[in-house]
């Protein structure tokens, strides 16, 4: 079942962690820097978490396999726009979390300020929503404003390697399956995560445990 609407494929095998998507997201959505005096915390992953003004984050995880080879995997954390969104089910006021009919984007509104944030965060399988200073909840909007004008999302437009690909959900699912079967020739552990449940599909080239997906399961 495709459920129509739109979807994004994040193909980790093509991601070089340039983080153009992370910056483009802030630029299009008018979100400021997290701190006037940012600090290095001993790694590459900055800023260190999603926030009401940080809707997309590229995670880094490195390690050494049993054969001594190294890996350094990059993964995208942002709202997956669930087909049947638990955050929406959890909301007491149905106006707080709405779904854009045309695209399927899951959107938080100003009514989310009266919601039980902890309950909504617990409901999210991917630990995405964040509360802003005024109480309202924030996360990725799938750039619905751009989509309604016939433009692609900012993250997709900024990606230099085709790691972020956005389009009609049918086409994206087909692309995900096509890329997955090609990837498996080189990477037997490749997998597409939550193909049927979400509108942000993660295509991984290695075991899921070697990625920091933002969700430990």
């Amino acid at each position: 079942m495709s459920h129509g609407g739109r979807a994004t494929l994040f193909d980790a095998s093509r991601c070089i962690a340039c983080r153009s998507c992370q910056v483009a997201c802030k630029q299009w959505n008018g979100l400021g820097a997290e701190s006037p005096t940012p600090e290095n915390r001993g790694g590459y992953e900055h800023p260190h978490d999603l926030s009401a003004t940080q809707w997309l984050l590229i995670h880094f995880r490195e390690g050494e396999r049993a054969d001594g080879s190294l890996f350094w995997h990059f993964c995208r954390s942002s709202c997956r726009h669930c087909v049947d969104a638990p955050c929406r089910q959890k909301a007491r006021d149905k106006r707080a979390v709405v779904v854009d009919e045309e695209t399927g984007a899951v959107l938080f509104t100003e009514h989310s300020r009266d919601e039980d944030f902890a309950a909504i965060l617990r409901a999210c399988p991917y630990h995405i929503p964040r509360r802003g200073p005024g109480g309202a909840l924030f996360k990725c909007t799938m750039c619905v404003d751009r989509l309604h004008r016939g433009e692609q999302p900012a993250c997709d437009k900024a990606c230099p390697t085709g790691a972020n690909v956005h389009g009609p959900r049918d086409e994206i699912l087909a692309l995900a399956r096509e890329r997955l079967s090609a990837l498996r020739l080189r990477y037997p552990n490749a997998a597409a995560l939550d193909l049927h449940e979400t509108r942000l599909i993660l295509l991984l080239a290695d075991r899921e445990s070697r990625y920091k997906t933002g969700v430990e399961r």
């Binding site: 070089i16 962690a17 340039c18 910056v23 400021g32 940012p38 900055h46 230099p160 085709g162």
Partner: protein, 824 residues
Amino acid sequence: MTNHWIDLKNADVVLIMGANPAENHPVSFRWVSEARARGANVIHVDPRFTRTSAQADLFAPLRCGSDIAFLGGMLHYILEGEHIHQDYVLHYTNASHLVADGFAFDPAEGLFSGYDPETNRYDSDAWAMALDEDGVIRKDPTLQHPRCVYQEVRRHFARYDITTVAGATGTPPEILQAVYEAFVQGSVGPGRAGTILYAMGWTQHTVGAQNIRAMSMIQMLLGNMGLAGGGINALRGESNVQGSTDHGLLFHVLPGYLKTPQVDQQTIADYNERWTPTTVEPRSANWWRNTPKYMTSYLKSMFGDAATPENDFAYDWLPKLDSEESYAWQTIFDEMYEGRLQGLFAWGQNPANSSAHASRVRDALGRLDWLVTVNPFSTETAEFWRGPGVDPSAVATEVFALPAAVAFEKEGSVTNSGRWAQWRYEAVPPPGDACADLDIMNALFESVRALYVAEGGAAAEPILHLKWDYFDGRAPAAERIAKEINGYFTGDVRVAGVDYREGDLVPDFTALQDDGTTSSGNWLYCGSFPAPDPITGNRMRRRTREASGIGLNSEWAWAWPLNRRILYNRAGVDLRGQPFDPARPVIQWDGTAWVGDTPDGGQPPLVDRDGHPNDAACLPFIMHPDGVAGLFGKDYLRDGPLPEHYEPVESPLADNPMGHRQRANPVAHVSPAESGNPVAAPGDPAFPVICTTYRVGEHWQSGAMTRPKAWLNELHPDLFVELDPMLAAHHDIVSGDRVRVQSARGALKAIAIVTRRLKPLTVMGATVHQVGLPIHYGWLAPGAPAVRLAAVNLLTPNVGDPNTRIPEFKAFLVAIAKVEEDGS
């Protein structure tokens, strides 16, 4: 690049060495990804596992500064395993040419013949070729003669066996073997091509030019030059650094790589005699024979009507170099430090951060009378007088900071690494007082000329007679200058059966003349703007994508020379003109003409349809007097006709792993120690750790343009040092700690990133550790604690390559220690 960015998709194997394109040239990875999707193998060789390695099929770690040993091992593998492309090597390289008896390499001393220990220089005449009585190079097409280049090269690299190479590089032998096999397998055989991507990781060494030469030899032996998906591809460090090099940025060349005149060339006849190569080799096009046409046309573009046959086309008015003297970046600051330079324009530059041994550079800036900086943002150079540890009242230098427009606020051309000149328009006007560089230059020049008119002065003629009519407002100055670069007919001329009138634009450089009837500011760009219409005449504006084909995109913008997209493309075909790779032909002889890319010369193939030699043909490497690619040669580099492994000036080894007495490059440039240039002794126990420097994708150059941008700065907010877990444990350091890094020049503090992506290596039986720091930081980042935002070049040595004078930023020695809570 011999090829271009999009062409990377055609490679069957991609060797990335001395570069980190996923981080520093991210858009290139679109094409690397396409090659991978087609099944290409990607190999990354680097001291550190980077975001590029993360995308590679094979990663090989190596010790900083051991690239020639690594590549020498590959040459050994190719030659001993006879993996060469036989036809290519025989016909398109000088493998069969015989070397004269004067040449030798002494494996015990580690020196080539011709070395003078008094001057630390080589006399390259000791590396000459053997000539017959007619002056033609003697050849042995069987490649068996002991003095033929092929055998000389084989003998030279016989010493680079896997065990020796592994001892020098620290790369495990099985990984060396895997890299050599993968690159050769991907390159050799019909329909295969291997490409190489390199950047500053190769050039910033005291053997930088020889690093590139070693790889070029591999590409020639494997027949990878001139093919789609092949070539030697330098990933240039700025969007328009190719353009600025083409247009004479460097001291030793004028625009179009014409040599800068020297004092012993007092007339244009002297100049032409010295720099116009001759050849008696049959079928060699020897393209530089046209040097007088390009030089005269250049002088006509500089001085217009004032350049006449009677005054040697005003050749006198060009400045002359003192022979053999360097005017390179290092020399400028050496001279400044010694008080022999009074003023400096730092135009789009931030030397207080970006120069080796930056504290000495900052001292040198304080010895100037005046300093002008031109930049969109303030820089550590503009504010050196109030930098860390500087007392402003003690600095007498007068500093002028001029605000410049950024790229999107001005019109003009940008030439990318693939030699594509692309025209850009002004998207928004510059803010405030900021001006386009051209407008700043014009204001400056008008003022200087007015002073000369009013007051006279030494050598006034070149100022008073400079052709400078680009700013009269009749057309945008950038367009007028682009036409000047293309060139005009300055008289009525008939060329190749076509009549041209004075004022017509020159169609391409084959029409340029040496009698003063043509002008061209840069012969290589002649043809970029061949017609007066500002839209259709400007071929750099073209934006037609290729519908099908191998990605040449010949109607998109314009590439020098003559819109040729893949250089040396006549070496990508067999003797009959048929492509070595029929599935991805660059050019092809159809019986009467070449089809495809602009060929490297339109002459017919070397043999005709019946296999008979074709007298009208010419050899493929048209810029070389011999017509073929040089595996060995006396005229290329100052430090030898072949690459040899030498240690970095600062290295932990007291001996050369090749077993000879010469430890470091004998002709490397080392600034005198008594002029404030300390260098650690080989194996100095005070500095036991190898250090290298690099970039991250989130910042640009010295950080002057990216640190003020909060979105970028928060991605990589602080100077960091990466180190391996074993070294970190030894010093009780964990990620996030502050670490003191000290070299013989200075010390700084950085945030530790402890990572397995750096591994201790076993070099000559001992364990060596390598650390690395990025180059982008300085004290001017907004709001950040100054103590941590040091420039990494406080550490780097003021030593350099003897050919290019590029400093050895990539391999030097440091000591590290944890900074305790109290800051000690």
